[in-house]
Structures are given as structure tokens and as C-alpha cells.
């Protein structure tokens, strides 16, 4: 819609309670005063509108910040987003609005460039950094303890084992009785060794300790013997299995030789030998069944060939391996997609904003309308620098901009042609 000069004069006349001729004259005077100031000082600032300036005999205009914000209320507070940041899960009550506030650049119109010829968006780098749950942290923390135990084992053998084995409790109690406990005994190995000096113990306690040491030096009846048994049982079992296999193998060879040397003897062993007359009858009725009458070494060969078939492993079907990112997403079960309930807001994901309105009730109605259509709908508010509040409604959560753009094409009109993609942070 366009407001031309004549209509502007008519509106001005109504606002000034005067006729159109006077309003036209007032407007012309105002324009002349602005142009004169631009010509004289190079710039002309008009409060609430903006600043005119002259460069190279051309007049340029910079709008007032408040006016720009009012015009751009739909997209105000949005800044350029980088598409190579990692994803992380958000708190359930967290809104995407927090993300838009810090990124609001003051020079948004200058940075917003339309590069339609640029290549499509690159896939989001989905390397999620496990910051809080680092499985390697425990190993790193436990490593010094292991070193301490191994280094102090020859010197602190009694103390080290009293901490682990309940059997040596009397010994530990003897140490406690002999001397006062050192508070640093558990943390500092050097300081823990000093109060355990033997001259402070009684003679009976010393003897007891020495006896305990000697008894501990001798192998325990349970632990080492069990491990030795396991070590020896495995090869013995393997030898037995090989022997059984060899037995069956040579048994088969022996049968082969026996049948090859004396086929008649094997033939006699048949439970129901067929008479020559029956042979003739069967030969007339059916095809000659030579194998039924005189079985040669062929069945034996078939039996011998069976183990070879069993040895070959069964062919395993090749399962198509998924990309690492996809497997991680499946493991994490991230709620990506355009449709479905909005159970969780993913920080770092992209969403398609389809509504940006100032009326809170209208935004709630639009959100419910989208939810009834089966979309993942999210609503949040953005407080603009002029303290006005804009309510935005987004649909879907996507891993990358490309996914969001593809999903935006699936949206019905007018959402398909009037939407914008932002990143949830």
C-alpha cells in the first residue's frame, strides 16, 4: 500500500485542522527546511524519524533506532547464528528466548545480506562434548592411587593389607593401641609409615606380626591354587577335545580302509539283504538302484565330509553400518522432527518460526492450532530493547539448517513462504 503526496497532504490537513492548500504549503516548507539544513551542514537529524546526510551530491537516510525496531518487530532481537556449534540438552523449563537476547546486533540491517547463490547449509557438527559426564575422569583420578599402592607395597605391606583384608583387623588394632593415630596417615604415605615404627610395639606384638608376615608370604591355599588350576585346566581341556576329534577322524579312516579291503563283509552286515529276484523286479519297475544293493564307499565319504562343512563358519549377513552422528542420535534419542509432541527443547537445534506477534493471546491460539495439526509447536517471548514484548511460535526441532529448510518446504501455506529459521540456545 502506498501513501502518495496528495493523500499525505490530505492527512496533514486533517491533523492540522486546516485546508489542503495550507497543508501542502506547510509540507513544502518543511521539505525545503530539511534540504537547506542538509545542504548547509551536511546532515539533518529529525527526532523519531532518522538522519539525512549528503554524500557525493546524493542524499542518504539512516532511520532512527526506535523506528527501525518498530518496523522490524517481527525479527527484532535476532542476530546472526553460527551453524557449527555443538548441541546440548536443555532444561525442560528453558525457553529459546534466552538465546536471542545476547545475539541481538545493533547493526542488523548492515549484516543481513541476501546471498541466495550461496551453497546449501553445511551439516551441523554434531560432536556433543560430554563435559559433565566424562568417563575418563574416574580413571585419571584413580591412577595415582594405583601407583601409590604398587610403590608402597613392599614397604607398607602390613598396613596396605589391613585396609583391604578384614582378616588383619587385630593387627590394625595393635597399631592403634601402640601409638596414637596420625590424621594424615591415610593421605600421605611417608607420614603414615613413620608412626608404625616397630620399636614402639611390644615383643609379643612383634612376634605376632612376624608370624602373620610369614604366613602371608606363603601362598594362600585358595587364591593361587585356584588360578593355577584354571591355568592348567584350559590346555588340558583343549588337548582332550583335540584327542576326541582325532579319535573320530581316525575311526572314520579305519572304516574306510575296512570297507575298501572287504566290501563283501560290509554288505553282509546289511540288515535286509535283497534277493536276486527282487533285484530284477525292482530293476524293471523303477530305475536301477545300484546304490541300494551294493553300497560302495560313497556313503562313507559323505559322512567323512560332514565335519568339513561344520568347520566353515556360517556366512554372516552384512548389516549396513549407520553414520556415527546418526548412531549417536539414536542412542541419545533426541526429539528431532517437525511433528510430534514438544517434550524437550534441544539447545543448539534449529526451529522454524512461523509467527511473531505482539499479542500473547494470539500467539497461544496459533500455537494450539499448530499442535492440533500435529506439529511440534513452541512459544516464547522476546523482550525488545524498547521493552516491547514479541511472542514467537516455532515448529519442529532440527539438527541442521538443511533439515529445517527441507521441513519448511513441507509446511502448508502461508507458513511455507513466510517463515524463518533460528537456533535454540
Amino acid at each position: 500500500m502506498k501513501l502518495n503526496h496528495e493523500e499525505f497532504v490530505r492527512l496533514l490537513a486533517r491533523a492540522l485542522d486546516s485546508d489542503e492548500e495550507k497543508a501542502a504549503r506547510d509540507l513544502s516548507d518543511w521539505v525545503d527546511s530539511v534540504l537547506d539544513e542538509i545542504k548547509n551542514s551536511g546532515t539533518c537529524h529529525l527526532e523519531g524519524l532518522g538522519t539525512f546526510r549528503e554524500e557525493d551530491a546524493k542524499i542518504f537516510f539512516s532511520p532512527d533506532e526506535t523506528l527501525s525496531l518498530e518496523i522490524n518487530y517481527k525479527f527484532a532481537g535476532m542476530g546472526p547464528i553460527e551453524i557449527s556449534e555443538p548441541l546440548r540438552r536443555a532444561e525442560s523449563s528453558q525457553d529459546p528466548e534466552k538465546t536471542e537476547q545476547p545475539d541481538a546486533p545493533k547493526d542488523l540491517p548492515d549484516t543481513a545480506e541476501t546471498d541466495s547463490d550461496k551453497p546449501p547449509a553445511e551439516e551441523l557438527d554434531a560432536t556433543r562434548e560430554p563435559v559433565e559426564d566424562d568417563p575418563f575422569a574416574l580413571d585419571d583420578a584413580g591412577e595415582p592411587e594405583l601407583e601409590f599402592e604398587t610403590e608402597s607395597e613392599p614397604e607398607f605391606e602390613p598396613e596396605a593389607e589391613t585396609e583391604t583384608e578384614p582378616e588383619s583387623e587385630p593387627e590394625e588394632g595393635a597399631f592403634e593401641k601402640a601409638d596414637e593415630p596420625d590424621p594424615e596417615a591415610e593421605t600421605d604415605p611417608d607420614s603414615s609409615y613413620k608412626p608404625l615404627s616397630y620399636p614402639r610395639l611390644s615383643v609379643s606384638q612383634k612376634k605376632k606380626i612376624e608370624e602373620e608376615r610369614e604366613s602371608e608370604k606363603t601362598p594362600a591355599p585358595g587364591s593361587k591354587s585356584r588360578s593355577n588350576r584354571l591355568v592348567w585346566l584350559v590346555p588340558v581341556a583343549a588337548v582332550l577335545i583335540v584327542a576326541i576329534l582325532l579319535f573320530f577322524h581316525f575311526d572314520g579312516l579305519r572304516l574306510d580302509r575296512k570297507h575298501a579291503a572287504d566290501p563283501a563283509a560290509w554288505q553282509e552286515q546289511e540288515p535286509a539283504p535283497v534277493s536276486p529276484e527282487e533285484q530284477v523286479v525292482t530293476a524293471q519297475d523303477e530305475e536301477p538302484a545300484v546304490h541300494e544293493l551294493v553300497p560302495g564307499p560313497e556313503p562313507v565319504e559323505e559322512v567323512a565330509a560332514e565335519p568339513d562343512v561344520d568347520i566353515t563358519p556360517d556366512p554372516v549377513e552384512d548389516v549396513p553400518s549407520l553414520p556415527l552422528d546418526q548412531r549417536i542420535d539414536e542412542l541419545l534419542d533426541l526429539p528431532y522432527g517437525l511433528r510430534g509432541p514438544e517434550d524437550e527443547v534441544l539447545i543448539g537445534a534449529y526451529t522454524i518460526v512461523v509467527h511473531s506477534v505482539r499479542n500473547e493471546r494470539k500467539s497461544e491460539i496459533e500455537k494450539k492450532r499448530l499442535e492440533n495439526r500435529g506439529y511440534k509447536a513452541t512459544r516464547w517471548s522476546v523482550v525488545l530493547p524498547n521493552e516491547n514484548v514479541t511472542w514467537r511460535v516455532g515448529v519442529g526441532q532440527f539438527k541442521s539448517v538443511s533439515d529445517a529448510q527441507i521441513a519448511a518446504e513441507e509446511l502448508p501455506e502461508p507458513y511455507r513462504s513466510n517463515n524463518f529459521i533460528i537456533r535454540i540456545r
Binding site: 500500500m1 502506498k2 501513501l3 502518495n4 503526496h5 499525505f8 492527512l11 496533514l12 491533523a15 492540522l16 506547510d26 509540507l27 513544502s28 516548507d29 518543511w30 521539505v31 525545503d32 527546511s33 530539511v34 534540504l35 529529525l46 527526532e47 523519531g48 524519524l49 532518522g50 546524493k58 542524499i59 542518504f60 537516510f61 532511520p63 523506528l67 527501525s68 518498530e70 518496523i71 522490524n72 517481527k74 525479527f75 535476532m78 542476530g79 546472526p80 547464528i81 553460527e82 551453524i83 557449527s84 542488523l108 540491517p109 549484516t111 543481513a112 545480506e113 541476501t114 546471498d115 541466495s116 550461496k118 547449509a121 553445511e122 539448517v401 524463518f420 529459521i421 533460528i422 537456533r423
Partner: protein, 64 residues
């Protein structure tokens, strides 16, 4: 009515229509209009790929 009040009324009419995204033409000065810039993707000098958000911006075309 003083010139300042006349100027205020002129600016009020002008901004009121611009906030409604309407084009305003004033003879002798130029034309004000609101243009929509779509969101776009571009690469910074340091290699980062960023998405610039859409925006409705006020543009001015001088009449002279």
C-alpha cells in the same frame, strides 16, 4: 501553529504509515519504503558459516 508542531505532525504521519509497512512518497524529498530481507547464509572471512536473520528495514530513495 508553529513550525515545530507542524514538523511533529508530519513526522507522526510519516512514521505511523511506515510502521504499517506502507510506502510514503513526499514530493521534493523522496520515497520511504519498508523492504523485507530474507534470511541468508554466508561465510565470514575467518571461514565461519553464519546465517543472517531476516529483517524488515526502512529504505529511502531520494527524489532528486
Amino acid at each position: 501553529m508553529t513550525n515545530d508542531k507542524i514538523a511533529q505532525r508530519i513526522i507522526a504521519i510519516l512514521t505511523g504509515h511506515l510502521k504499517k509497512h506502507q510506502q510514503v512518497q513526499i514530493n521534493g524529498l523522496g520515497t520511504f519504503a519498508v523492504e523485507h530481507q530474507k534470511q541468508a547464509q554466508k561465510q565470514e572471512k575467518d571461514g565461519r558459516i553464519i546465517i543472517t536473520p531476516p529483517a524488515d528495514v526502512l529504505v529511502f530513495k531520494s527524489g532528486k
